[in-house]
């Protein structure tokens, strides 16, 4: 149990009153912004990034954990009350959550979601505590070729699993990689794509891209979309779920925790898939499956537990390999880099205090979420009843002024607005912003490792395939890249054949 010592030491750091206070603020503000219709966790965290500036790293990270959990729960609130899922992973929550709300039991749905999220999250953090050191020690031997392959697979998986057209998602990812090359080349010092602009010489900062694409992009999109928004129910009673509800959901919560933990480790839509699988499992196991979709508490408890467990276990690839598994993790990755923390296999051995500080802050964030969510439900309902027309400029101002405070730079604010327009247009034209941000974050790592590998391998590209880990990763890459194409080609052929058969008959 010796390895547990640094874990316990980490708690000492986290439990300092000042850190707890920042975590509490993170949870509350994360929920407040996350509850705004149309702003999912990625957008919420992006908009709130400036808050974590200017405080010392450990405190900032703890606050970030609070914002992360608050933002996740914010999406649940809008799912239940407005039938507007904040992100794909809370879509299934709508099925029973909204019906419960319509029955006047929104509080039950939100309460059980909070409890499930807490249990799922905690189980996942415990799993992470034991699994992360293992993965990290395995990854310590990774050299530049392995990292190149890993980054490629990560970007590809996130691009292909996200909704929408795969080619468009891949184009977005490639544009992200291209944006990452703007600025001085780390190897030679040559300026690339700066067009003589001094502000671009140091490269484009990650924060304006994330705040623009996710934050302003969503705000602009909502300006047009708001007119068909639903209205929140007038009052929410029964905030605390009854014993009967708890008993009914306990199995769903237990299954959701385990399911979410394992599915969340996979890159791509871990949280989304796990919430859907959990819903399907609960419906199948139920004695009266017809209750599902008509206000079954387990239909909220299971998926909400699973998506929070998955959101938490997706920290494993981030913290041990330095590869974010989804867009939200990409933003957390960027935020950690800003704090001087480079997630990767070395982090756990070189800076155990910081590593366990990050992990333990999740416990705290999770607990504070549980404590704060239930009493604050009434407040959220009030916020949701404020007209969108009044909320929109407030969110816009938070983003604009927040962006300025990062480096006191108007150029950053301009970038945020410009990337906001890009984010809006991408959405309209069917391009996912997630892969772009993820690829942008990984761009530098990918390029420098690729160039280092090529130097090591003396330009012999086949050298990638003679290293076992790299070969396996690249095989996965090829499978993921080419597999769906073959599948869809086969499906089309089948369709054509079927059409011919039916035409003949």
């Amino acid at each position: 149990m010796e390895f547990l010592n640094p874990v316990l030491d980490g708690f000492g750091v986290v439990l300092v009153p000042q850190n707890l206070l920042y975590c509490l603020m993170g949870v509350v503000i994360g929920m407040l912004i996350g509850v705004l219709p149309g702003l999912g966790p990625a957008a919420t965290i992006a908009i709130l990034l400036p808050l974590t500036y200017g405080i010392e790293p450990v405190t900032a990270i703890i606050m970030l954990a609070g914002i992360f959990y608050g933002a996740q729960y914010g999406g649940t609130i809008t799912s239940v009350l407005l039938r507007l899922p904040g992100e794909a992973s809370s879509v299934v929550t709508v099925f029973d959550g909204y019906v419960l709300a319509k029955q006047g039991r929104a509080g039950t749905a939100l309460g059980i979601a909070a409890i499930g999220s807490f249990i799922g999250g905690t189980v996942a953090i415990i799993g992470l505590t034991f699994l992360a050191p293992l993965v990290a020690s395995f990854a310590l031997d990774f050299g530049p070729p392995e990292y190149t392959a890993l980054a490629l697979v990560g970007i590809l998986l996130v691009s292909t699993i996200s909704g929408g057209t795969k080619i468009k998602a891949l184009i977005a990812a490639a544009v992200g990689l291209l944006l990452a090359t703007v600025g001085r080349d780390v190897f030679t010092g040559a300026e690339r794509f700066t067009f003589g602009n001094l502000s671009l010489a140091d490269g484009i900062d990650f924060v304006p891209i994330a705040m623009g694409l996710f934050g302003v992009g969503e705000i602009l999109y909502n300006l047009e979309e708001r007119h068909r928004a639903a209205s929140a129910p007038a009052k929410v009673a029964n905030v605390w779920p009854s014993r009967k509800d708890l008993r009914q959901s306990s199995g769903a919560i237990a299954r959701g925790s385990v399911l979410g933990f394992f599915l969340g480790i996979l890159p791509g839509g871990g949280a989304t898939i796990s919430s859907m699988v959990s819903y399907a499992v609960e419906k199948k196991r139920a004695k009266r499956p017809e209750r599902f979709g008509k206000g079954a508490v387990e239909g909220v408890a299971g998926p909400e537990t699973a998506n929070n467990a998955a959101a938490t276990s997706s920290f494993i690839p981030l913290l041990t390999l330095g590869i974010p598994a989804n867009a939200t993790m990409a933003i957390i990755f960027g935020a950690l880099l800003i704090q001087g923390v480079t997630p990767g296999p070395q982090l756990i051995s070189e800076d155990p205090e910081l590593f366990w500080g990050v992990v333990n802050s999740m416990y705290i964030g999770n607990i504070l979420l549980l404590i704060m969510s239930i009493p604050l439900v009434g407040l959220f309902v009030k916020i949701l009843r404020v007209r969108g027309a009044i909320l929109a400029p407030i969110t816009a101002l938070i983003t604009i002024l927040g962006a300025f405070t990062i480096r006191n730079s108007m150029f950053d604010v301009l970038l945020v607005v410009l990337f906001g327009a890009l984010g809006y247009l991408m959405k309209k034209f069917g391009f996912e912003p997630g892969p772009l941000v993820l690829a942008f974050v990984l761009g530098e790592l990918l390029e420098s490792n690729l160039r280092r590998s090529l130097l090591v391998l003396e330009g012999d590209v086949s050298g990638f395939f003679t290293r076992p880990i790299t070969a396996v990763l690249l095989a996965i890459f090829v499978l993921v890249a080419v597999g769906p194409m073959i599948q869809s080609a086969l499906a089309k052929r089948q369709q054509r054949q079927n059409a011919r058969v039916s035409a003949d008959s």
Binding site: L178, I219, E225, P393
Partner: protein
Amino acid sequence: MNRKRDDQAHTAPTDFESAIDLPDLTPEELAAEWAADAAPPSGAIANLAASLVAAGVGVAGMLIALGLGLGTPGQPRPGTWPFIISLIIAVLALAQLVIGRRGGVDGEKFSPLSRMAGFGFVTLLGMVWLMPVIGFEIPALLLCFIWMKFLGGETWRAATLYSVLVVVAFYAIFILGLGTSIPHLL
């Protein structure tokens, strides 16, 4: 007390069912309703435009990368990596051009309401332009007012009142409370 009410909800669902103004929808019906609510996909012309823009980005990237020097796999130069990515962008864009030529299911058609997003973007640009010149208060007030009155359809009175309140609150938080160096008049 709460718990008691809750248990009643279980035993006597009929009282509540009558209070539901929306019909109970199964997940499938809900998904269908969402699909019907959603804006139509962006269509063939949008695909053409987006693919051409992406291809243009790819070609421009390739040309600039050529100027930076391509190098060889053994000796990569600053242009090597950007060239590879730009090439990928160009190739994928052309593939999308062909595959999506009949439109597709993704994206959203622009509607008359899309002007609002454009208008919002212009006001944000205006704010970026004015903020360093006259401080954030007046631009923020104008932004709030325009967004509330013209983009949000609030009444003159509500828009004025809430705009002033919002700017006062932001001034209190960012200038007085946090002491940030956001350019301000007062």
